[in-house]
Every structure is written in structure tokens, then in C-alpha cells.
């Protein structure tokens, strides 16, 4: 049975000073996090950053070495398991079980009555564009279809808090979009949703709130707007009319307030252009106006800071910027390729 909502004011998840070590490796290092109710959070970080470990601790699958975690106002997730929907990164189905039997079993484990589940499973299967597969064995479904069934197993008991660990991995673009719609719908119903990903662009598109961790430590925590505000863009994209790669860039370099200029060759559908970095303290708007005056332009814009830029700038103090950027991109490409 789903218990009535308790401690409605408490945050969905509160993590205070949590540390987890596996032998000599520290997976999560003194982490503080608060997930407000009703938020749609992206939980970001490269592979091995500690995302899954954090989520498993939230789910009470294993305990933290130190620190405190509370979920939906209760000290452990065990007490609120039936209010949580969790899609693990390592997920699967019983291959020999029929789809409706599998979903019924998981639903019953979460305390939902069998009769309620019967109708609900049919409705949801329609909604994820899998009508009529109830009596098929899970092994007869394609991998993408199985992923949808797994997603349904996560939310079939109508949880308040939904935790999705890498939900997009392995989905084709069409199903990825479907999942995004479903996540937005659930968010609109007032559910608290957290999903982890190492593909920064996905989080950027969906989330209203972001946590970014690396090496078990928190690097970013806030709404997308707050984060963009904090990491104001210092780069202008300039494309003079008739510009060819290799043209002289000194006209731009000489404009007051510009520190350096980098020529970017044509890449895909993006035409060749220059990227100008602003001098410290230079006024963004004024420099933009001066550029417009100085040269005939096809395009000039201040570059929106992407999460990737922000992430790279945050971690690049230790590593060289290019290697970080390369690793982030490579991971993103690797996942999309799957």
C-alpha cells in the first residue's frame, strides 16, 4: 500500500557529508546535495564520477561510510521504497517471463494491488507505443522495447520520486524523444525526477536543475539559469561577410576589449568563423557594438555557455582543457553510438 505523503515540506533527497570508499578508491567524497520536491534534476558527471554509487546509497542498496541521507523526509529509502521509482543503470528483465507478469510482479513488490495493476499496465503500454505485448515473453522483445518495459517497471506504482540512472543509454533518437516527453509529463504531474547522465547536452535540454560531480566531489549545483549566470560567456563568435578561413584576423584583434582571436575552419554546417575572447573586465555589450561598427558582418553573437564549456572550465585547472574536452566528447559520442 502506498503510504500517505509524509513530511511534505522535507526535500525529496537530502545528502549531508556523505563519503563512500571501496577499498582504496574513494567513490564519493564528502558530498552535500539537496533535491527540492518537484524538481527535474540532471545528475551529471563523467563515467566513474560516483553517480551510480551515490544513487545506490540513496536507494539504501548499500550504506554510506559516513554522512547522512534522508529520502522523502525519512532516514532511509527502505522506509519509502514504495514511493520511489528507480531505474538502475544495470537493469534487466526476466527473460522467460511475460511482459504483464513481469510488470505485475514488480508492481506487487512495490505494494500495488494486482487488480489496479491490470488496467494500469495496459494503459502504460499504449502510452509507450507497445500495445499488445502483454503476453509476449520479455526475451521476444527488442532491446529498445525491453528498455521501455524497464521504464514502466520503474513508474508502474506511481512513485513520487523517480530516479533514473542513465535512462537514455541504448535508446534510439525516436525512443529517446519519447522518454523525454514521458519525463516532462511526469514532472508536470509534480513528481520529483532525477536522472543521471554523462551526456551533458541531454541534461541541458531537459533539466531545470543540475548537479555535476567528478571524482566523487560536487562541482556544480543549481538551476540552469543560475549556473549560466555564474559562468558568463566570455567568447564572441564573429563571422565577417565574405570571410574565408585563413583571412587576416588583425582587424578584430585590434578592437578594444578583445584579448585574442582564434580562427575556426569550416566544420559540418558551421561556416568558418572567428572566436574572440574578451579581456578581463571588458563590457560584453560595448565590445559587441564596437565589432558591429568595425567590420561588415554576416553574424556576431555571444556564445551561450554550454554545460560542456562550464564543466571543462571547472575541471581544467587540473587537467589540460583539450584533454578534458576530448574525454567528455568521446564519452558522449560513445554513448550515442551504442
Amino acid at each position: 500500500m502506498i503510504q500517505p505523503r509524509q513530511d511534505a515540506d522535507a526535500p525529496a533527497i537530502s545528502i549531508q557529508g556523505v563519503t563512500k570508499r571501496f577499498r582504496e578508491k574513494t567513490a564519493v567524497d564528502n558530498l552535500d546535495l539537496t533535491v527540492p520536491r518537484g524538481s527535474l534534476c540532471g545528475f551529471l558527471g563523467p563515467n566513474g564520477a560516483g553517480k551510480t554509487t551515490t544513487i545506490r546509497m540513496v536507494m539504501s542498496i548499500f550504506p554510506p561510510d559516513s554522512g547522512r541521507i534522508s529520502v522523502l523526509g525519512r532516514p532511509t529509502a527502505i522506509e519509502s521504497k514504495d514511493l520511489i521509482g528507480y531505474l538502475p543503470e544495470e537493469r534487466g528483465v526476466y527473460r522467460k517471463m511475460k511482459v504483464d507478469a513481469f510488470l505485475t510482479y514488480i508492481g506487487m513488490l512495490k505494494g500495488v494491488d494486482r487488480n489496479i495493476l491490470k488496467d494500469r499496465i495496459g494503459e502504460w503500454l499504449e502510452r509507450v507505443e507497445l500495445p499488445g505485448v502483454e503476453k509476449k515473453r520479455c526475451e521476444e522483445l527488442s532491446k529498445g522495447m525491453q528498455q521501455k518495459v524497464q521504464f514502466l517497471a520503474t513508474i508502474i506504482h506511481d512513485p513520487e520520486l523517480i530516479i533514473l540512472d542513465e535512462p537514455f543509454s541504448g535508446l534510439d533518437p525516436v525512443n529517446g524523444r519519447l522518454l523525454r516527453t514521458l519525463i516532462n509529463d511526469l514532472h508536470d504531474q509534480g513528481k520529483t525526477i532525477i536522472f543521471s547522465t554523462h551526456v551533458l547536452q541531454q541534461a541541458e535540454q531537459i533539466c531545470n536543475r543540475i548537479f555535476l560531480i567528478n571524482n566523487g566531489k560536487k562541482l556544480l549545483d543549481g538551476t540552469m539559469d543560475e549556473i549560466r549566470e555564474q559562468h558568463n560567456p566570455r567568447t564572441l563568435v564573429i563571422e565577417p561577410s565574405g570571410y574565408q578561413h585563413g583571412d587576416d584576423t588583425s582587424a578584430v584583434e585590434n578592437i578594444e576589449g578583445i584579448a585574442s582571436v582564434r580562427a575556426v575552419p569550416v566544420s559540418g554546417s558551421t561556416p568558418p568563423h572567428m572566436e574572440a575572447t574578451l579581456r578581463d573586465g571588458a563590457d560584453h555589450g560595448a565590445v559587441l557594438a564596437r565589432v558591429a561598427q568595425a567590420i561588415p558582418l554576416r553574424r556576431v553573437e555571444s556564445r551561450r555557455a554550454t554545460l560542456e564549456d562550464i564543466f571543462v572550465s571547472l575541471v581544467s585547472t587540473k587537467d589540460s582543457e583539450d584533454s578534458v574536452r576530448a574525454s567528455v566528447s568521446a564519452q558522449a559520442a560513445g554513448v550515442e553510438g551504442n
Binding site: I61, I78, Y86, I106, M108
Partner: protein, 479 residues
């Protein structure tokens, strides 16, 4: 509780309510039993053999060569018919003297006996060829045996039939020299093509004629000897118990009752345990485990699985038990089966055995990623299964002895040993021993489930290199 129940119900459903289980647990044993009955009833296997046909050379150097004549008579059609009829008559006489409640059952055996003894002609055609001992060339005869002209060559001498005297023991070891047979010895050289069963027939015939000759020498009528042999003393046993007298069937079968019950426990516990191991491996392998753990705690899942597969084991006990009782009823052995109270004890010991072994199986399943890695961790399981097996005869022969009692209070062996003791009709286990063994046994189960839960919790989300036994103990300490 609800979650444990849901997990248990699923385990039972996916295991026991499947065609595969039905085939494995019901159809296959039924077919095997059916075949055995069919073969037994029709004598299918016996009738395959061609009858014995050919000549047997007999070199008989006894005075008057009476043995040759007697052998000829035994192998003649009339002689064989006479012998078969005598055997049947003896059987009928024996049945007629049985207590009335056993007689009806035994009468069923007569047609089968008739078919086996073969009173009607089965095509046997054996000629006894007497060879004059003074002119016999043994080497030439052996050559003929080798070539298949004779089925066998039998050499008997005066020494073969002489009435034994105490000094015969000093004659020294037997020789193969046919001209120099020792006391009570005779010689058979047989053709490679001669069926071992027919060699037995020839030997029995020779023995019979030798013994008859000796009886006559001693002045005893062989017919009297035959009567004495066929009417061995017959005990009418009755087991006098608190529940009243139980008509006593023969002791040999009762002796093996504990063995039957032990096998019943092994079969059901191992089946349930095996499903547990495979099921856990599947949940780990298909990565459905973490999905489950988002809904139930590892301990709840473990207990749910144990209960569900326990019911599967119970189903198997039920099926085989029902068949066993039906068979016991059919063959009039119902009375020796354990009484109601004993059955309750045995049920408790069944659960004890199952939970102990099942917990170990689940722990092993959770610790490894592939079935073959499980073999390395099997030692404790094998150990607890093999001890009662090794001690089986000691316990069956002396169910109240020191060995039986010691292993009654050693948790891994408690249930099987106790069931063996309880199912021995001649032995009654003191009530305090049942009480203490239940206490010790279930304490052992509790410890084993506790250990399994710890291993399970760590193991289920671990992939990669499997731990060693020592590593598992470390997990138990850490968790």
C-alpha cells in the same frame, strides 16, 4: 511480509507451474517406473536370449559313470519339465502356508514365476556326449570346444564325488590338471560362445548330480534332502508397538526404509536448492537484480526465494510420497511406514534440511556470475550432503548408536540423520533427542540464513572475479 509473499509466489509459479517441471518431476519418473514394470511383467529382456542348443562332452571317470547318466536325464525334455513342475509345486506349497492376508498378494506372483521358470518348451536342445575316460584325448576335446563343436567339456573324477573328509583341507591349492582333480573339484572348459547364464545352468546341473551321488553314498534319499532344502524355516514376525501389532514383512526391506527416506529428502532438497542457485544466477545475469532491490531489501528477497522454492521441494516430496504410499499399499507394506506424529517430525526435518542447504545455494548463486564458478564454492554443500551418505550403513544398522547420536546434533547433518533414525521401525528415538536436535538444527538454519543474507547483500551487485571461500567469509565479517 507482503513483499516476501509476492517474491515467494513468483518463485513457486515460475518453477513448479511450468511444463518443464511437470515433465521433470512427474512424467519422467512415471515413464521410468512404467518401463520397469512393463519390462518386469513381460519378461522382455529375458526372451531376447536364444535358447541353449548344442552338445556337452562329459569325461566321467567315476565308477559306473552315473554322473553322465544323471546329467543326460536332467537335460532331457522330460527331465526339464519335471524340474520346472517341481519348482512350481514348491512355490505353490510355500504360498499356501503363508498367513491369509499375505497369500492373496503372493498368488499374483505365480503367473510371473511360470513365465520365468519356463515349464513349456523354450527350444532348449542339449545333448550330453559321454566320452570314455580311458580313451579321452583332452587336448583334442578342448580343440573341439574352441572350434564350437561342443558348448563345454566337463571332467569329473572319483575325487569330485567322494564324500569329503576333514583332511581334504590339506590337499593344497586347486590345479588345472584334468587328470589330477583335487577333492570336491571338477572341471569345465567352455566355448567362448557359451552364454554365462547357460554356464551357470550347466554348473548347477553338475553340482546337483554330484551332491545327489554323495547323498546316495551316505545313505540319504536325495528327495528328502530336496524337501528339507525347499522348506526352510519360516518366521512369522510381528512388530509389537504402542500403536498395536504390525504384521511383519521381511526385515530386509524395512532395513532400507531409512535409505528411501534419505533419498526422498535429498531429491527434494537438491531440486529446490538447484532452482535457487539457477534463479539467483539468472537474476544476477539478466541484471534484473537491482530492479528487484529497488522494491525489496536483499533479506526480504532471500527469504521470499527460500520460501517459494521450499514449497517447490514440498511439492516434490508430496508427489513422490504419494506414489510411495500407493506402492506401499499395493505391496502391503503400509504398516511399516512411519506414523502420523513421526511424519510431522520428518516434515520439520525436511524444512530444516531444505533451509540449511537452500541458504547455502542462494549464497553461492549470489556470489558468482557464472554457473561454473559456483563449483569452486560447492565444498561446504557437498560436505554436508556426503556425511550422512558415508555414515548411512552405520546409522541404519545402529540408529541409537554413538555415531548416529553425534551427527543428530551437528546442524549440517541433523535433519538427514534424524529422518533416517525416525524411519527405522525397529528403533524409537527418545523424545528429548528430537527436541534438542530440532533446537540445534534450527539454530544452525538461523545462522546459515544470516550468513547467506550477508553474502547475498554484497554478492548480488558484484560482477567479475568470483570470491574464494575465504573471500566469502570476509564478506560475512564486513557486511
Amino acid at each position: 511480509m507482503w513483499k516476501i509473499y509476492a517474491a515467494a509466489v513468483r518463485e513457486y509459479k515460475v518453477t513448479a507451474l511450468t511444463p518443464a517441471f511437470f515433465i521433470g518431476a512427474v512424467i519422467v519418473p512415471a515413464v521410468i517406473w512404467g518401463l520397469m514394470f512393463f519390462v518386469g511383467a513381460t519378461g522382455l529382456l529375458d526372451s531376447e536370449k536364444p535358447p541353449m542348443q548344442g552338445r556337452i562332452a562329459v569325461v566321467d571317470s567315476t565308477p559306473g559313470q552315473t554322473l553322465t547318466a544323471d546329467l543326460s536325464d536332467l537335460f532331457s525334455p522330460e527331465g526339464r519339465a519335471r524340474a520346472a513342475e517341481a519348482q512350481m509345486q514348491a512355490l505353490r506349497d510355500q504360498i499356501n502356508r503363508l498367513p491369509p492376508e499375505m497369500r492373496e498378494q503372493a498368488m499374483n506372483a505365480i503367473p510371473m514365476a511360470e513365465a520365468m521358470i519356463g515349464a513349456d518348451d523354450d527350444g532348449t536342445d542339449v545333448d550330453i556326449v559321454p566320452i570314455d575316460p580311458n580313451e579321452a584325448d583332452l587336448e583334442a576335446l578342448r580343440e573341439q570346444v574352441r572350434a564350437g563343436d561342443y558348448l563345454a567339456l566337463v571332467v569329473v573324477s572319483e575325487e569330485s564325488v567322494r564324500i569329503p573328509v576333514p583332511t581334504d583341507a590339506e590337499a593344497g591349492p586347486a590345479t588345472r590338471d584334468p587328470n589330477n582333480l583335487g577333492p570336491s573339484q571338477y572341471r569345465i572348459d567352455r566355448a567362448p560362445s557359451l552364454d554365462p547364464d547357460y554356464l551357470g545352468d550347466i554348473q548347477r546341473a553338475v553340482h546337483r548330480v554330484i551332491q545327489n551321488t554323495r547323498y546316495e553314498q551316505a545313505g540319504i534319499d536325495p528327495a528328502t534332502v530336496l524337501l528339507i532344502a525347499e522348506n526352510s524355516p519360516q518366521a512369522i514376525t510381528t512388530l509389537v508397538t504402542e500403536d498395536g501389532d504390525k504384521a511383519g514383512p521381511d526385515a530386509d526391506l524395512v532395513r532400507f526404509l531409512p535409505f528411501i527416506f534419505m533419498m526422498l529428502i535429498y531429491a527434494s532438497v537438491l531440486t529446490g536448492g538447484n532452482y535457487l542457485l539457477m534463479g539467483t544466477l539468472e537474476e544476477k545475469g539478466s541484471r534484473v537484480m537491482e530492479v528487484l532491490l529497488s522494491a525489496v531489501s536483499p533479506t526480504q528477497l532471500l527469504i521470499g526465494k527460500l520460501i517459494g522454492q521450499g514449497l517447490v521441494g514440498l511439492t516434490i516430496v508430496g508427489i513422490y510420497g504419494a506414489v510411495g504410499i500407493a506402492a506401499a499399499d499395493r505391496f502391503n507394506y503400509l504398516a511399516v511406514l512411519p506414523s502420523g506424529v513421526q511424519i510431522v517430525w520428518m516434515a520439520l526435518y525436511f524444512f530444516m534440511a531444505y533451509f540449511f542447504l537452500g541458504a547455502m545455494m542462494v549464497a553461492v548463486g549470489a556470489a558468482v556470475t557464472e554457473l561454473r564458478e559456483a563449483q569452486a564454492l560447492y565444498a561446504p554443500i557437498t560436505f554436508s550432503l556426503i556425511i550422512p551418505f558415508v555414515l548411512m550403513f552405520s546409522i541404519m544398522d545402529n540408529p541409537g548408536g554413538v555415531v548416529a547420536r553425534i551427527f543428530s546434533f551437528f546442524p549440517p547433518t541433523t535433519p538427514v540423520v534424524m529422518v533416517m533414525r525416525l524411519s527405522q521401525p525397529s528403533h524409537s528415538v527418545p523424545l528429548w533427542e528430537i527436541g534438542v536436535s530440532l533446537l540445534v538444527g534450527f539454530a544452525g538454519v538461523a545462522v546459515m540464513v544470516w550468513i547467506a543474507a550477508k553474502i547475498f547483500r554484497i554478492g548480488v551487485l558484484r560482477y567479475g572475479k568470483p570470491p574464494t571461500l575465504v573471500g566469502l567469509l570476509k564478506w560475512v565479517r564486513e557486511a
